[in-house]
């Protein structure tokens, strides 16, 4: 049993127990005076506030508030508990009011984006480790620029060495545009590989037409193309790891704002006894 699996088993068991406890408690709340909605509501507010505090914790790196990894574990499992708590708070019904509906939609979106983020943060790093060399996201454009320059040099070199324009023409027609900038972001995220196969096929066909002097040069160019694909892959997937926060964080702030409005309205209008 690996350490990660043991941790997941322990945390998952606690989560399941907490959910079971919540459902058991809620099932016994057949007395309206016990106000289960009030209890679950305030618990939900506290829970959302705690989840939002993770972002604060990340900004206060120097303050000894526990490791970010520990916070992330709490963030994930409490967030999962929050899904059940939210459904329980709504009495297992869809809300009917506008404010409550907006709040519910925001909660669903925040939860979905969070789950999506959890998914990509678990799935992408191993993929990145398996493919190409490790690169810093911000430097990928410079590396691509460097590879494009090398490719350009190889194309010119092939003309000099082989007295043939074939490779240079092929480079100009098929590869220069691809090498000049990051491409195929969606393909790399979704793992389609269509453009890669088309490119490989074109290069393989072209290689059969080359003479013995041209082949080593073209193979070097092919290597550059594959490294460029690796850089595209890293840029696309590292970008996904960074950009899912563009959805999750703003939605979280919107959720906090609407939650505050909901709490005030509910208590001002007598629903928060």
């Amino acid at each position: 049993m690996t350490r990660v699996f043991a941790r997941r088993l322990r945390n998952g068991s606690i989560l399941v127990a907490a959910i079971a406890g919540l459902l058991l408690w809620y099932g016994r709340q057949d007395d309206p005076l016990d106000q289960p909605q009030r209890v679950t509501g305030w618990l939900l507010v506290a829970l959302v506030a705690f989840l939002a505090l993770y972002s604060v914790r990340k900004k206060l790196a120097v303050v000894p508030l526990g490791s970010s990894a520990t916070w992330l574990q709490w963030h994930v499992y409490i967030g999962l508990f929050g899904i059940v708590l939210f459904v329980t708070h709504n009495g297992w019904h869809a809300p009917t009011g506008t404010l409550e509906s907006v709040l519910a939609v925001l909660f669903v979106l925040v939860t979905a984006s969070g789950l999506g983020g959890l998914h990509v943060s678990r799935r992408i790093p191993p993929r990145l480790a398996r493919r190409g060399e490790e690169v810093i996201y911000e430097r990928v454009p410079a590396f691509i620029h460097r590879l494009a320059g090398r490719a350009q040099e190889l194309a010119l070199e092939s003309v000099t060495k082989t007295r043939s324009r074939a490779i240079a023409d092929f480079h100009a027609a098929e590869l220069a545009g691809f090498l000049a900038r990051p491409t195929d972001r969606l393909e790399h995220i979704l793992g389609w590989g269509t453009a890669h196969r088309r490119r490989e096929h074109a290069m393989a066909e072209f290689r059969t037409c080359l003479g013995p002097e041209e082949t080593p040069v073209f193979d070097a160019l092919t290597d550059l193309v594959r490294r460029k694909e690796d850089l595209d892959f890293h840029r696309a997937n590292q970008g996904l790891l960074k950009y899912w926060f563009f959805v999750h964080v703003p939605l979280t702030h919107a959720l906090l704002l609407f939650t505050a409005a909901h709490v005030v309205v509910v208590h001002a209008f007598g629903g928060g006894r």
């Binding site: 007395d31 506008t98 970008g239 709490v263 001002a268 209008f269 007598g270």
Partner: protein, 717 residues
């Protein structure tokens, strides 16, 4: 081996500050060594930022190895870099873009939220769901039920922190929904604490009476949950709703429900005292007495002669006009008294020696025997603050020694007291007989307050001092204190000035056998509670005092009509019978559904007592049903509920209205098991609300409430 693109060594790769909001605009070509400034300006025009030598004057080049290492030109003498690069336009980093997106989205969301909260669609936005059909049809807006809706969104914060939202809502509910006389809308059952304790003690037979209820306050919406859609029935509740509050929870009516109090419901305090054994087994059976022919017209004695279902099928109460009056109309006797002593005597004019007569008063002040003057309780009330003049006068002579001579012997010393009393009496009549009715009633209220410590309500004043009585008082004033003859004898009129005996009296309606109304004189009914209050104020009504001090005529009323001690400690007469009881009770029983059933099989084998062993009882299927629940016993009911009440009050047995007062019934009690024979799952409904009501005495919703549009305005969602 393929060349690595990314070096991570300290000397091979500079630290990438991804948390910075700006990045160099030449990332593609390789960022400049210094990078952008904190506000997005290009900071990379120089190759490096030369460092000052620590030990010598001048500067040295600080260009990093990955950017080419120290340049050959070196820094200038002033520390400037010799390399000049082309400026770039820095771009936002991922973190910088995220910050912008988060701030913009926050501002956007906040703007939208404020627009919704302060805009015209505010009410729709915060409305959590459609109103129930009942409230929707009233066209209620938010402010109809929520005080917060009367203010702006800023006020909501105050409301949310105020803590009085539930009270406000309950009061708004109360404005339209009339609950009970004792209204405490946030209390359980909407009743005051005192009433709750009374009910608890009375209905549970004392069980659990020591403990307070679990929920000190609650809101209407705990059970009546609004905004759940048009189809939602606000009154729909479940047994769990009831059991959530009640200390004793149980599975169902047939399993675990508390047993009914002993001898329930027969020996609970009833509004009217009635002895079935004496009537049914005696008078009815014999068909004797003056009303014999009338009784004979009813046919063979049976329950249904007197007990018929009302229009709602709920109660089967006899009515005086239909049943009792056959025998008792005009012949209400009690302890051998005469019908005449049922009159009220508002004024009794004492007659003193002529010398005591103030100047200008009628010469008819003859030499009346003052020893016979004992003013009534009614008059003592009406005298108000002046009642002391009579007391002082009478204190001059011992009660046993009062005689004309005794008063005459008082001589001139007593003149002042006599004059004071007569002056007070004249003042009383003058005030109460004045032409302006409102003024007269105001004077009446002042005198009641002075005498009893309470002011009668406007409605009570109208009953206590009707216009006809006011007119008669004017006649008495004219006859007794002014020039001229005494007024005509009132004859058959209800209020009578007795010129001969110098009295102003009320003759109750029923004594005159008025064709329109044979029972229930409103003036008499209005006066009796105040008379009892006055008597108790003078001296507690206990023991022999009860029979001695309460006027005999009033005792005759109280023979049947039970006296209750109200929550404020005063004695009140239950004139309206079970209507009051029904408003106060938390249980209910509807007779009609039971009448059509064949319940005879549930009846035990116990033989009927002799008084109830009449042919019709066994022969009539309906009456067999009656006897299944109302099992006759050999017990004699108390023949004197009136005295029994006061005895109970003295012993502390009857502090409240609904507590059983020890009265004995002619019937044995009904057991829960008998009801549970049919009221069980799969048979007849047996949920809490079958037999219980949450809001005792809840009455109709007011048709209109100020500030609430009916059928107008934008209907609630």
């Amino acid at each position: 081996m393929t060349e690595k693109l990314q070096e991570f060594g300290f000397r091979d790769s500079s630290y990438e500050r991804v948390e910075q909001p700006w990045q160099c605009g030449r990332l593609d070509e390789g960022p400049c060594p210094l990078g952008p400034g904190p506000r997005g300006s290009c900071g990379g025009r120089a190759g490096c930022r030369p460092l000052a030598h620590a030990s010598a004057a001048g500067f040295r080049c600080a260009r990093l190895k990955e950017h080419g290492g120290p340049c050959t030109e070196g820094p200038s003498a002033g520390g400037g870099c010799a390399i000049e690069l082309t400026a770039c336009r820095p771009v936002h980093s991922v973190r910088g873009r995220r910050t912008i997106v988060v701030r913009m989205s926050f501002a956007f969301t906040l703007g939208v939220l404020l627009l919704l909260l302060f805009g015209p669609a505010r009410d729709d936005f915060v409305n959590p769901g459609a109103l129930s059909d009942a409230h929707h049809r009233l066209g209620l807006d938010c402010a109809g039920c929520h005080g917060a809706a009367e203010g702006g969104a800023v006020d909501w914060l105050r409301w949310a922190l105020d803590g009085n939202v539930d009270s406000d809502m309950a009061n708004r509910c109360k404005q339209c929904h009339m609950l009970s006389d004792d209204q405490a809308p946030r209390n359980p059952h909407g009743l005051t604490d005192e009433r709750l304790r009374e009910l608890r003690a009375g209905q549970l037979g004392g069980e659990g009476a020591a403990a307070d209820w679990m929920v000190p306050t609650m809101s209407c919406s705990a059970c009546h949950q609004e905004h759940r859609g048009r189809e939602r029935k606000l009154t729909a509740t479940s047994d769990a709703d009831c059991q959530g509050c009640h200390v004793r929870s149980f599975a169902s009516f047939e399993k675990g429900h508390p047993e009914f109090p002993a001898a329930w419901p027969h020996e609970q305090r009833q509004p009217v005292a009635f002895d079935h054994k004496a009537h049914y087994g005696g008078l009815f059976a014999k068909g004797a007495g003056e009303a014999g022919p009338s009784l004979a017209a009813w046919g063979e004695p049976r329950c249904t002669i007197c007990h018929e279902p009302d229009a709602a099928g709920r109660d089967m109460r006899p009515r005086f006009e239909q049943h009792c009056q056959v025998c008792h109309g005009g012949r209400m006797t009690y302890r051998g008294g005469s019908v005449d002593d049922m009159a009220l005597r508002f004024v009794q004019f004492p007659w003193f020696d002529e010398g005591a007569r103030p100047e200008g008063w009628s010469e008819e002040f003859g030499a009346m025997d003052p020893s016979e003057v004992s003013i009534s309780v009614e008059m003592r009330i009406l005298l108000g603050d002046d009642a002391g003049t009579y007391t002082r006068l009478m204190a001059r002579v011992d009660e046993d020694e009062r005689s004309p001579e005794a008063f005459l012997e008082m001589g001139e010393d007593a003149q002042a007291d006599v004059t004071a009393f007569l002056t007070a009496l004249k003042r009383m009549l003058t005030e109460l007989a004045q032409a302006d009715r409102e003024q007269a009633l105001a004077a009446l209220a002042r005198r009641f307050e002075a005498s009893l410590g309470v002011k009668p309500t406007q409605a009570e004043r109208e009953l206590l001092w009707p216009a006809a009585l006011q007119k008669r008082a004017g006649e008495a004033l004219k006859a007794w204190f002014a020039e001229g003859e005494a007024g005509d004898d009132a004859g058959p009129a209800r209020f009578r000035v007795d010129a001969e005996n110098f009295c102003l009296d009320l003759t109750p309606i029923f004594q005159r056998r008025a064709p329109d109304r044979a029972h229930g004189d409103p003036t008499l009914q209005a006066w009796i509670p105040f008379i009892l209050r006055r008597l108790e104020r003078e001296r507690p009504l206990v023991g022999a005092d009860v029979a001695r001090r309460i006027p005999a005529g009033i005792q005759r009323c109280l023979k049947c009509h039970n006296v209750d001690r109200a929550a404020d400690g005063t004695l009140q007469v239950d004139w309206t019978g079970h209507e009051i009881r029904r408003r106060e009770r938390l249980d209910r029983f509807v007779h009609a559904p039971h009448l059509g059933q064949d319940l005879a099989a549930l009846r035990g084998a116990a033989p009927l007592p002799a008084w109830a062993r009449l042919p019709a009882l066994e022969g009539d299927p309906l009456m067999r049903n009656c006897l299944t629940c109302h099992v006759p016993t050999e017990h004699d009911a108390h023949d004197d509920f009136f005295l029994h009440f006061f005895q109970g009050a003295k012993d502390g047995v009857v502090p409240g209205r609904t507590k059983a007062h020890g009265a004995r019934s002619n019937f044995s009690g009904i057991s829960r098991a008998l009801c549970a024979t049919c009221h069980a799952p799969g048979q007849v409904r047996s949920d809490c609300l079958t037999c219980h009501v949450y809001h005792p005495g809840a009455r109709a919703t007011r048709a209109e409430r100020p500030g609430v549009a009916r059928g107008g305005g934008a209907p609630g969602r």
